[in-house]
Amino acid sequence: MAESGTTNPADGLGLPLDHGACRLSALSCGPAWLVAPFPGQEGACGAALAPLGLDFPAPGQVLAEKGARIVWAGRAQALLFDADPPGALTRHAAVTDQADGWARLMLQGADAQTVLARLVPLDLHAGAFPPGRAARTLLGHHPLLLIRDTENAFEIMTYRSMAGSAVHELQEAMRSVAARAALS
C-alpha cells in the first residue's frame, strides 16, 4: 500500500488484470538507486557493495542478498533495489535516486512468456533468458527493464509516465493470448 499522500504509477489502471492464464499486477516502489561506475570502477563498486552481500552485476545479471538486489540496467549501470547505497559507493560511481522514476509491474502465469513474445523483441526461452536474468529492451514502443524472477514471473519496469499505455499494450497482448489458448 502506498503511504498517505503518495501515488503509485499504476494507480487507477485497474490492476490487477487477469486474462487467461496470466495476471498483471502493480508492484510497490521501494528504494531504487541507479549506480553508474566511473570508467573502470566496476571492481571498486563491487567492493563497495560487499557490505550488502552484493557485487556489481555483469551484463544481464541479477544479484540478490537478504532482501537487497542489484540488477544490470544497461551499459555501465545497474539498479540497486530495496537497500540504501553504501557511502563508499559515491567515490567510484554516480549514484542517483530513481525510486519514483519507474512503474513496476509483475506479469505472471503459465502464458506470461507467450504474452511478452507479442511485445518484447528478445528470445525469452528459459534457455536464453532464465530466471535471474535482466535485459534492457522494449515493450512495444516503451522502454523496458525486464527481469525474470521465475519461469512464469516477469518484472516489467518502464518509465513512470508511460505506465498507462504500457498496461494497455500488455492487456491487449494478454487478451489475444487468452483467446488463442481458449481456441485449442
Binding site: C29, A36, F38, T90, T96, G101, R160, G164, S165, H168
Partner: protein, 981 residues
C-alpha cells in the same frame, strides 16, 4: 457422383456432419466444415467467381493454393470489407459473406465486359500510346476514368477496427513448409532436441501428400501423417505453426511470416485476425515445395480451366469434383500421373493431351501424343476443348481442363536477399543456388527434387546438415519407402495457334503482349514486366513468370538462362498493412506520457495538448470563460499580478555526477559551467557539431561533484543522445556519469509577485530574497519530503521551481493550486506559459528550430572565447555570423489589435509576397494581455539594426496582411526587475 459435385468417400478434410451456410454474391449456399471458399463454391456448382482485371472475362478457380490468380473475392464482416481474398485460402465458416470482384452488376453479366471486345486496342502499352493527347485531357478526363476502371477490389473506406497482432519467435531451425521434405526435416531436428519451428501455410500439414495420397512406409498417406504428427506434437521443442506463410527472408536469419489467426472463425472473439511474426532462426530449411505452371494456349482462361494438380487436390482433400469430364494437357510425367489419379477417383478423363511424341498410349483414357490444345469454347464455363494432333483437330466435350507445363520450385524466399537462381535444364525450371540467403538451404521440391522419396530423403539430409552446422548431434533416421518415379519433361510453354493465350491471368497478359514488348524494344525481362504488367498482380507472377520469360526468350532468340528472372521481393503473399501495424491503431501509435498532475488537470477541465509524447494542460477554464483566449489572458494576468502554478515536470532533467563533471559540461555547453558555485544555476546554450543551436536550458550545481541540467520538453531525448555521444566519443575516460531523472522528480513552477508568499506557506523553512537569490538553488523540505528548490523563471516574474519525488507530486500540485487560488492566482497552462515567455522574448524550439546560430538569436557572446565546446569551430565558419543573416527580432503591429500569426513572412510594405522579396518570418505570436496588443517573435535580415522599421507581416495561408514595427525581442520588463527582485 449423383447430381451434386461432391464425391462420396473422398475429402479427408471436410466434416460432412457439420454444414456451413455462407453467402456468395448474395446467394445463400452451403459447404462443410473444412472447406475452403473455393471448394465450397465448387461443391455448390458455382463456376464463375469473378471477372478478370482488364478484359473483364469470366474467371473460375485456377489453383488450390495461395498462388491463386483468378478467384479473388471480397469478404464482408459488418462494416469491414477485405478485398482480394483468395477463395482458395479463405476457409468457410458459418455466415461467411463473400462477394465476387471486378464485375457489375455480377459475375455472369458484367458491364465492363465490353473491354473484351476492345481487346485488339487494349494490349501492352495501350495507356502509354493512347492517352498522350490532347495533353490537358490527362488530368481531367483520362486519369479519373482510368482510376475508376482500374484496381482489383475495393476498400470500405472505413478505418479497420479489427484486432491484429505482432509477435516474435526464435528457434534453432525454421522449416518452411510441412510437405514430405519439411516434415522429415522437422522430425529429425526435433528428435535431436533442436528448437524447431515448422511453418505451414495451409491449415493442414502434408503439402502435396494431401492431394496426391501416395502410400508411404507401407501405410496410406493419412495413417503415416497421423503417426508422424503425433510424434512431432509430443516433442516440446517443436512448434507447428499452421495457417502461417513465411513472407520474407531478411538480414541476420530474420524471417517475416503472416499467420491467419481468426479469419476462419464465425465468432473470433478476442482473437486477432492475423498475426505478423518476426522469426529469428539460426538455420532455415526452405521446403516450400513447387508450384505447377499452366500452358499458354488460346482461350486458356475459361472457368473450368485450372492447374492439373489442383484437380486431385479438390477431389482428395475436399471431396469435390472440379468437373465431370476433364481433359488434361501436360508436357510432363506428373500430368500423366494426375490423369491416372483422377480416373481412379471416378472422374472421367476425356483426353490426355501431351506435346511429347514418345509417351505411352496404353492408358484407361484416350491419349493424344504429339498434340496440343488449340482452343476452348464456353463463355461462362468450359464446354469444348479443341485438340490438334497428327490426324487433324478433334473437338472434345469437357467441362474441365487441367494444365501442366511442369513445376517451378517455390524458391522465392531464397531470392529475397538479391540472389539469383540458376536454370536447370533437366526439370526445365529455376532452382536455388546454395548460399543465396545465409543460413538457408532449400530441400525437396523447392530444390528441384520432385519424387516423394527424394523429398523425404532430402528433408532429412538438410536437417542433419543444418544441425551439424549448429553443433547439435543428429541420429540416423529411417526413411520410409515411397514412390520414386522419375520426372520427365519436355519444355513447352505456349501453343502457337493464333488467338489470345494467357500467361498472367490476374493481370490479363497474353503471349501476344510479351511478343509485342520484345518487338517494341522492351526485351529485358525487367522491361517486359513493366511494359506488360506481367507478374505485377497480387499473385506476383507465381503462375506466369517462368512461362512469360520463356516466351520472351523465344521472341528475342536468347535462351531462358540468359534471359533470367525478374527480382522476387518480399512479401511472398499479400500481407495486410493492418497486421504490419498491429497495436498502432489510435492511441497505440505512440506511448502516452502523463504527468503526476494529469488527473487533477483533467478534473479541472483542462484540455490536454501533446508536447512530444507528453500530455500537458493547455489552459484551465473557469465557469464564466467561453474561449481559450479568455482563460489564457486571465492566467497571464494572474501570473503578472499574483501567482500561478504550472507543472513543468516534462522538462528533461539530467543528473551529472563525478569529479570531471564540470569539465564535461564545459565541452557540452557554449558557456563555462565548471566555474559555477554549488547552490547556483546558470542558463546555458548547446550547439550541434555543425555549429547551430541545439538546445538551451539551465544547469544547476547541487554540490561540488553534482550538476543537474534541465532541457526543453521537446529536446530531452535529443540532448541525452547528444550527451551519450559526446561522452563516448570525447570523454570516455573522464570520471563522470549522467542519468535521466526526469521521471523521478515532479517539478512545478511557481511564478508571480506572490510566488514567495505561496512557497513559504508550503516549505518547512521559509526562504527570503537574500537566502535564495535569483539563479540560486537549495535543498528544501516539505513536511517529511526532501525536495529541491530552484529560483529560476521562464515567465519573467519572481519565480521558483520546486521539485519533489514523483510519488508526492499529485498531492503537492493540488496543494500549490489551492494555495495559489487563495492568493488570487491559480494553475496556468501551456498557452499562458507561451504568452509569458513571448512577452519576455525567451526562445523555445519555435525559434531554435535547427537552422539558427547563436549569432542569429543574439547569444553570440555566450560562446566563451576562453574554451572550446562542441560546435564552436563550426559556428565560426564564414557566413554563420554575417549581418545579412536573419536575426531574432520582436514585432508589434502598428494597430495593436491586428493579429500576427506564426508562420507569416516579412516583406517591405509594397513588395510582392514572393520568395525573392522575403526578408524574414514569424516564429511565435500571441496576444499579450500585459501589453494589450499582439506580439510576434521572428527572424529578419539584419534585424538587430532595423528596430523601428515598419514591415508587412503577410500570412499567405489565411490571407492576412498586417503592418508591424520591428523592435527588441524583449517586450516586457527588459531590465528583468521582476524576476530578480
Amino acid at each position: 457422383m449423383t447430381g451434386g459435385w461432391r464425391i462420396p468417400g473422398r475429402g479427408a478434410e471436410i466434416d460432412r456432419s457439420r454444414r456451413r451456410r455462407f453467402t456468395f454474391g448474395g446467394r445463400v449456399l452451403e459447404g462443410f466444415a473444412g472447406d475452403t471458399l473455393a471448394s465450397a463454391l465448387m461443391g455448390a456448382g458455382v463456376r464463375v467467381l469473378g471477372r478478370s482485371f482488364k478484359y473483364h472475362r469470366p474467371r473460375g478457380v485456377m489453383t488450390a493454393g495461395s498462388e491463386e490468380p483468378n478467384a479473388l473475392v471480397a469478404v464482408l464482416e459488418g462494416t469491414q470489407r477485405t478485398p482480394n481474398v483468395r477463395a482458395t485460402v479463405q476457409e468457410v465458416y458459418k455466415g461467411l459473406n463473400a462477394q465476387p470482384q471486378n464485375c457489375w452488376p455480377g459475375p455472369h453479366l458484367d458491364a465492363l465486359a465490353i473491354n473484351d471486345f476492345l481487346h485488339p486496342f487494349l494490349g501492352a502499352g495501350f495507356y502509354y500510346k493512347t492517352f498522350m493527347w490532347p495533353r490537358r485531357f490527362w488530368e481531367r478526363v483520362y486519369e479519373p476514368v482510368i482510376r475508376r476502371a482500374a484496381g482489383l477490389g475495393s476498400l470500405s473506406g472505413r478505418a479497420d477496427t479489427g484486432r491484429y497482432e505482432k509477435a516474435y519467435a526464435f528457434c534453432d531451425l525454421l522449416v518452411i513448409g510441412a510437405g514430405p521434405a519439411g516434415l522429415m526435416a522437422a522430425l529429425r531436428a526435433g528428435r535431436a532436441g533442436a528448437d524447431v519451428i515448422l511453418a505451414e501455410e495451409d491449415r493442414a500439414v502434408g503439402g502435396r501428400l494431401l492431394a496426391d495420397l501416395p502410400a508411404i512406409g507401407g501405410q496410406d498417406t493419412h495413417g503415416w501423417l497421423a503417426a508422424l504428427l503425433a510424434e512431432l506434437r509430443a516433442l516440446p521443442n517443436v512448434r507447428i505453426m499452421t495457417r502461417t506463410t513465411v513472407t520474407g527472408a531478411h538480414d541476420g536469419g530474420t524471417y517475416g511470416a503472416i499467420e491467419r489467426v481468426g479469419l476462419h472463425l464465425a465468432d473470433p472473439g478476442d482473437l486477432p485476425r492475423e498475426c505478423f511474426w518476426r522469426i529469428v532462426a539460426r538455420r532455415t530449411i526452405l521446403a516450400a515445395g513447387a508450384l505447377e505452371r499452366p500452358i499458354a494456349h488460346p482461350a486458356n482462361d475459361r472457368p473450368g480451366v485450372m492447374l492439373a494438380s489442383a484437380m486431385p487436390a479438390y477431389v482428395n482433400r475436399w471431396g469435390v469434383a472440379p468437373a465431370r469430364r476433364v481433359v488434361i494437357f501436360g508436357n510432363n510425367d506428373s500430368a500423366l500421373d494426375t490423369a491416372r489419379g483422377l480416373t481412379a477417383a471416378g472422374i472421367e478423363v476425356a483426353a490426355y493431351v501431351d506435346p511429347r511424341d514418345g509417351i505411352s498410349v496404353t492408358e484407361e483414357f484416350p491419349v493424344y501424343r504429339a498434340a496440343q490444345v488449340v482452343g476452348t469454347r464456353g463463355r461462362l464455363g468450359l464446354r469444348e476443348v479443341a485438340v490438334r494432333h497428327a490426324g487433324g483437330i478433334s473437338v472434345v466435350q469437357a467441362d474441365g481442363l487441367g494444365l501442366s507445363g511442369g513445376w517451378n520450385p517455390t524458391l522465392h524466399l531464397s531470392c529475397h536477399m538479391n540472389g539469383r537462381p540458376e536454370w536447370n535444364e533437366t526439370i526445365a525450371a529455376f532452382v536455388p543456388r546454395p548460399g543465396m540467403v545465409p543460413g538457408l538451404e532449400a530441400a525437396g521440391a523447392a530444390a528441384g527434387r520432385f519424387s516423394t522419396s527424394d523429398c523425404l530423403a532430402d528433408g532429412a539430409r538438410a536437417a542433419a546438415v543444418a544441425l551439424a552446422d549448429l553443433g547439435i548431434k543428429v541420429a540416423d533416421i529411417d526413411l520410409p519407402l515411397a514412390e520414386d518415379r522419375p520426372y520427365g519433361i519436355a519444355p513447352f510453354w505456349a501453343v502457337d495457334a493464333g488467338g489470345r493465350a494467357w500467361l498472367d491471368f490476374a493481370n490479363d497478359v497474353t503471349t501476344k503482349d510479351v511478343g509485342q514488348a520484345a518487338r517494341e524494344g522492351f526485351a529485358s525481362v525487367e522491361h517486359m514486366k513493366r511494359y506488360t504488367t506481367q507478374g505485377m498482380a497480387p499473385d506476383q507472377g507465381k503462375n506466369s513468370n517462368v512461362a512469360a520469360l520463356a516466351v520472351l526468350a523465344d521472341a528475342t532468340g536468347q535462351g531462358i538462362a540468359a534471359t533470367g528472372t525478374t527480382t522476387f521481393r518480399p512479401p511472398y503473399v499479400p500481407v495486410s498493412i493492418a497486421a504490419l501495424g498491429a497495436g498502432g491503431q489510435g492511441a497505440g501509435f505512440a506511448p502516452q506520457r502523463l504527468t503526476v498532475s494529469d488527473a487533477t488537470s483533467r478534473a479541472m477541465g483542462a484540455p490536454m495538448i501533446e508536447a512530444g509524447l507528453w500530455y500537458r494542460p493547455s489552459y484551465f477554464p473557469r465557469a464564466e470563460e467561453t474561449t481559450w483566449r479568455q482563460a489564457c489572458d486571465r492566467e497571464v494576468t494572474m501570473v503578472r499580478g499574483a501567482v500561478g502554478v504550472c507543472d513543468v515536470s516534462t522538462l528533461g532533467k539530467i543528473d551529472v555526477q563525478g569529479p570531471d563533471a564540470g569539465q564535461f559540461l564545459d565541452l557540452l555547453y557554449t558557456n563555462t559551467m565548471s566555474s559555477l558555485k554549488p547552490g547556483r544555476v546558470r542558463y546555458g546554450l548547446m550547439l550541434r557539431e555543425d555549429g547551430h543551436v541545439m538546445e538551451d536550458g539551465t544547469c544547476a550545481r547541487l554540490d561540488a561533484a553534482r550538476f543537474l541540467i534541465t532541457t526543453t520538453t521537446a529536446a530531452a531525448a535529443q540532448v541525452m543522445r547528444h550527451m551519450d555521444f559526446v561522452q563516448q566519443a570525447f570523454c570516455a575516460q573522464q570520471r563522470f556519469r549522467f542519468a535521466s531523472v526526469t521521471e523521478h522528480w515532479a517539478q512545478f513552477a511557481i511564478a508571480g509577485p506572490r510566488a514567495r508568499d505561496l512557497l513559504n506557506g508550503v516549505l518547512d523553512e521559509p526562504v527570503t530574497g537574500e537566502s535564495l537569490p535569483f539563479m540560486g538553488c537549495q535543498p528544501v523540505r516539505v513536511g517529511a519530503i526532501a525536495g529541491r528548490l530552484f529560483r529560476i523563471s521562464f515567465s519573467g516574474e519572481a519565480g521558483y521551481e520546486i521539485a519533489v519525488p514523483a510519488r508526492h507530486g499529485a498531492a503537492l500540485f493540488a496543494r500549490l493550486v489551492r494555495a495559489a487560488e487563495a492568493l488570487g492566482g491559480g494553475a496556468y497552462g501551456l498557452e499562458a506559459l507561451n504568452v509569458l515567455r513571448i512577452e519576455k522574448g525567451f526562445v523555445t524550439h519555435a525559434e531554435i528550430h535547427g537552422r539558427v546560430t547563436a549569432f542569429d538569436i543574439g547569444m553570440q557572446r555566450m560562446i566563451s572565447p576562453a574554451k572550446d565546446c562542441i560546435g564552436k569551430a563550426a559556428s565560426q565558419r564564414p557566413g554563420l555570423m554575417e549581418e545579412t543573416r536573419e536575426q531574432l527580432v520582436g514585432l508589434r503591429p502598428v494597430d495593436p489589435q491586428d493579429e500576427i500569426a506564426a508562420g507569416a513572412h516579412l516583406y517591405a510594405a509594397d513588395a510582392p509576397a514572393s520568395a525573392a522579396f522575403g526578408q524574414g518570418y514569424v516564429t511565435s505570436a500571441c496576444y499579450s494581455p500585459t501589453l494589450q496588443g499582439w506580439l510576434g517573435l521572428g527572424f529578419l535580415t539584419n534585424g538587430r539594426a532595423r528596430h523601428g522599421e515598419v514591415l508587412r507581416v503577410h500570412d499567405g495561408l489565411r490571407g492576412r496582411k498586417v503592418m508591424a514595427r520591428v523592435c527588441d525581442p524583449v517586450f516586457h520588463d527588459p531590465e528583468g526587475r521582476a524576476m530578480r527582485g
